[in-house]
């Protein structure tokens, strides 16, 4: 077993809140002269109104087009010129923006984030919106439409959440809805959701706490608090799907591929850790159940993995992702995967399986903390979802504390036939080329 002392993560944390509601955490580590700045806005595709799917992600693109004191395309240039890396991403219930820069450039990074939080709209133009709309459509094509199996990412949430549920619709959005997005939408979205009281800021790396605190106050302090947001209408969902839904997709794919999904407890809940360990037992790395049985022994699959979405609201998803070997039909693949799951239900898991899963997850967690950007994002995540930065230091222990009983409880309550979705891709036959 891994020594407990090695799992003792003790990242220093200094948390405070500005008068305008911005929650800030500073974590000092002076080993390398770099610093990561990370901002989570508590808004995502789940907040989109009908007819505007994909808007939160399109809006994320707009954040990089300049602000009151930053010209078009200057944001990227300023950070890269400063020797930094940067990006952003949109998820169902949050959008994050992050950069890692040499530590003597902290002020620039904070100033840029504050300028676009406080004064984005003066820089928004129809031309920029049209260009980014085009870029996002290209992104959609590149990641979904021009990729075998690409639509799984839209089909699975649509199956897993009821039609009126905020997690149901496409994150990247439909072409139709993207075309309908207007500058008015941009302004309204910004005023509603991009406010300091809806944001979490984390700074991790080579900083002096008081200096960083002063910069935060100077740049973000003057930004007024938001005037209120519509609540996210996330009604409680039942703990399981209440049945087994199946969808078969005929597509230009070389091999059948099955996504088998289960509704699972939300990220950060006690049962979540058991779900996460179960997912690792089933499909993390080649020592996992699915790989050992379906890929290695039976050779019915050419690859197999499992993961959780890590959604912190409403309900999470545990997904098995298995691709058939050549010559294996979709139905046979599904039967084999389901048989593995049923085996888990009837025979349970073994202690070494739990230990293996915990060892992999905890080692990976600790190793990932070497990166300032990863630390900062984790801290922002825990503050946004739970209001507690300190969870970054206890997270590894939460996994370590998952025992055989907890996994068994989770398996019995969540992997049964009344809580399944099968999304099966099969070849539409002829993948002809001119």
């Amino acid at each position: 077993m891994t020594k407990s002392s090695e799992l003792r993560v003790e990242i220093p944390l200094e948390s405070f809140e500005l008068a305008n509601g911005l929650r800030v955490t500073i974590s000092a580590d002076r080993t390398a002269p770099i610093v990561a700045v990370n901002l989570w806005y508590h808004v995502g595709s789940a907040n989109e109104r009908p007819g505007r799917t994909g808007f939160a992600h399109l809006f994320e693109h707009m954040l990089f087009q300049g602000s009151a004191h930053v010209a078009a395309n200057e944001h990227f240039e300023l950070v890269q010129r400063a020797g930094g890396t940067l990006n952003g991403s949109t998820w169902l219930d949050r959008t994050n923006y992050f950069e890692t820069v040499p530590s003597n450039q902290l002020a620039l990074a904070l100033w840029l984030e504050a300028d676009r939080m406080g004064a984005l709209l003066p820089a928004m133009t129809q031309e920029k919106l049209d260009t980014q709309r085009s870029v996002v459509k290209n992104e959609r094509q590149w990641t979904i439409d021009n990729q075998p199996y690409g639509t799984w990412w839209e089909r699975l949430p649509a199956l897993a959440y009821p039609p009126e549920h905020p997690f149901h619709h496409s994150l990247i959005g439909s072409i139709e809805d993207l075309d309908a997005a207007s500058l008015d939408d941009v302004a309204q979205f910004f005023r509603t959701y991009y406010t300091p009281d809806n944001a979490v800021l984390t700074i991790a790396g080579d900083v002096e706490i008081e200096e960083a605190r002063a910069l935060v106050q100077q740049y973000f302090g003057p930004i007024p608090r938001g005037t209120g947001r519509p609540p996210l209408s996330l009604r409680d969902l039942p703990a399981d799907f209440g049945g087994w839904r199946r969808e078969v997709v005929h597509d230009r794919v070389a091999l059948p591929r099955l996504f088998l999904a289960f509704r699972s407890p939300v990220f950060g809940s006690e049962a979540y850790y058991a779900a996460s360990v179960t997912s690792a037992i089933l499909g993390l790395k080649v020592g996992s159940r699915l790989h050992r049985s379906l890929v290695r022994r039976q050779r019915i699959a050419s690859s197999a993995s499992a993961f959780t979405f890590d959604l912190a609201k409403s309900a999470d998803l545990l997904v098995l992702d298995v691709t058939a070997s050549p010559g294996v039909e979709g139905e046979a693949l599904e039967a084999a995967v389901v048989s593995e799951v049923n085996g888990l239900l009837s025979e349970g898991v073994s202690l070494p399986e739990v230990e293996r899963a915990v060892a992999l997850i905890t080692t990976d967690y600790v190793a990932a903390l070497q990166s300032a950007g990863a630390r900062a994002d984790l801290i922002s995540k825990f503050v946004t979802y739970f209001g507690e930065s300190a969870r970054v230091n206890t997270q590894a222990m939460c996994y370590r504390d998952v025992d055989l009983q907890a996994v068994t409880r989770f398996v019995e309550s969540h992997l049964g036939p009344d809580n399944r979705i099968s999304l099966l891709y099969v070849s539409s036959g002829d993948d002809s080329n001119a």
């Binding site: 891994t2 020594k3 390398a32 004191h69 395309n73 240039e77 890269q80 010129r81 020797g83 820069v101 040499p102 530590s103 003597n104 450039q105 902290l106 002020a107 620039l108 100033w111 300028d115 049209d130 260009t131 870029v135 290209n138 590149w142 439409d145 021009n146 990729q147 075998p148 080579d206 200096e211 100077q218 740049y219 003057p222 230009r252 794919v253 070389a254 091999l255 080649v286 020592g287 050992r292 290695r296 050779r299 690859s303 050549p326 070494p352 230990e355 293996r356 060892a359 992999l360 905890t362 080692t363 600790v366 903390l369 070497q370 990166s371 300032a372 993948d431 002809s432 080329n433 001119a434």
Partner: protein
């Protein structure tokens, strides 16, 4: 300390930079002749072990493409005492997964573990590296997995474009014209005898190095490696020689038509100088300006100015020999021809005129400033040290890097652009909708080469 920044509207100026040095490295050789390279970093209690073997795909004789990679994967499939399943369980109980792999020059095995697990992981890695069983059944499974990969590739535009680019650039007579993992006809030829032969010829002390980065003192790491590897002896065997180079290929446009494609995957490029060349730093700056940074000419042109794509970039794929320069992007089908024209014009422009002071400083300042951010983790450090080893870079390479970048001028950039970017030698690959054939024929004055998918799709 940052300067007084004044009002919020005033753009802040940077404070005094704190110095950074690439971690200090200590070197040792085991009694058996294996190089051990150690960088001690104690911030987090992890260690990365990175085994590098000089025995990658470039050494494969004609007709056996994929041998190195299959052999690499094969060593994890079992020893005399342990099955592949046993090996996976043992490594993963230590919290690490081990996926040995092959590159062009090298074979690699990497493992990141909590520091308390170092000795166990190192011992297990040694078993796997020295005593593979290469059971026929296990190797057959690996071959089937590769065939499945190739079937997937044949329906996936990015992979199709990448492999077609290699094929047209280097040709069927060069090893570099085939993917590292081999094609169907070469993968079929693999088996236990080839694996054993490869193992005997590549996995030898004089061809191996172990790189260790993390929470371990150099002395301890040396002691561990000496204990494990000190008495390893390999029997005599013929030397592995790199297979022959490649002949220059005429410039042409190659089209892989795909009936359902909604975008065109484009690759434009030609061969490049060896990794170790006198213009490496100048070429690095050149590439950052041309297509390496988000604010590069090619990306701003195709993405921000024209909205053709989600992203377009250029890069040198460095090899000991047989490098290439490639511009890569996926564009709207209806913008294919325009995108090709824009890329060609950017390549010409950077040769014809010196870059601006602002473009130069963006590239240089970025490459200088981002340097420490590249090496935050033990895995990133060992990757960098492995690269230094594989290409025979100087011991002071990381110490000198930023200074060499700083010294690059606009005149240098133009000089190397003219020397190393050759518009007349550009090969173009398009994987796109079949309907584009006519337009592409016009673009190329009728000189369009139609490419198919890989030959067959059976096992």
């Amino acid at each position: 300390m940052p300067n007084d920044v004044g009002a919020a509207e005033q753009r802040p100026t940077p404070g005094t930079p704190r110095s950074y040095h690439f971690p200090e490295v200590q070197r040792h050789q085991t009694t058996s002749g294996i190089d051990v390279i150690v960088a001690t970093v104690t911030r987090v209690p992890v260690v990365t072990l990175h085994y590098v073997i000089d025995g990658g795909a470039i050494y494969e004789p004609a007709g056996s493409a994929g041998t190195a990679q299959l052999t690499a994967k094969g060593i994890a499939e079992g020893t005399q005492a342990l099955s592949g399943d046993d090996i996976a369980q043992r490594f993963e109980l230590l919290g690490t997964s081990v996926e040995p792999d092959a590159g062009w020059e090298e074979l690699e095995l990497r493992s990141t573990v909590m520091s308390s697990r170092l000795t166990q992981a190192a011992a297990l890695a040694a078993e796997v590296l020295t005593s593979p069983a290469f059971r026929a059944d296990d190797l057959a499974r690996l071959q089937h997995e590769r065939i499945a990969e190739l079937m997937q590739r044949d329906t996936e535009p990015r992979g199709l474009a990448d492999d077609a680019f290699s094929r047209v650039l280097y040709g069927p007579d060069s090893r570099l014209g085939f993917p590292i993992g081999g094609e169907r006809e070469t993968v079929r030829e693999f088996g236990a005898s080839r694996a054993r032969e490869w193992h005997e010829r590549a996995f030898r002390p004089e061809r191996m190095a172990v790189i260790v980065a993390g929470d371990v003192e150099a002395d301890e790491a040396f002691a561990v490696m000496e204990r494990i590897w000190g008495s390893w002896r390999a029997t005599a065997s013929p030397l592995l020689m790199p297979s022959g180079g490649h002949r220059p290929r005429r410039s042409a446009t190659h089209f892989v038509a795909k009936t359902d494609a909604v975008q065109s995957e484009i690759r434009i490029g030609h061969t490049g100088p060896p990794r170790v060349n006198a213009d490496y730093f100048e070429l690095t700056v050149l590439n950052a300006i041309l297509g390496g940074l988000f604010g590069s000419r090619i990306n701003l042109n195709l993405r921000e100015a024209h909205g053709y794509t989600y992203g377009a970039f250029s890069g040198f794929d460095w090899r000991r020999d047989g490098s290439n320069f490639c511009v890569s992007t996926a564009v709207r089908s209806d913008a294919t021809v325009q995108a090709v024209r824009e890329i060609r014009s950017e390549i010409s422009r950077i040769r014809d005129e010196p870059v601006s002071t602002s473009e130069l400083s963006l590239a240089v300042e970025h490459l200088e400033g981002v340097f420490p951010i590249r090496f935050e983790t033990t895995a990133a450090m060992t990757n960098a040290l492995a690269s230094q080893l594989i290409f025979g870079l100087p011991r002071t390479y990381f110490d000198d890097y930023r200074e060499k970048i700083r010294s690059v001028s606009a005149a240098d950039v133009q000089r190397v652009a003219q020397a190393h970017l050759r518009p007349g030698d550009l090969n173009l690959v398009v994987v796109g909708n079949a309907a584009l054939k006519e337009e592409l024929t016009v673009l190329t004055d009728g000189d369009l080469v139609m490419e198919g998918l890989a030959a067959d799709t059976e096992l």
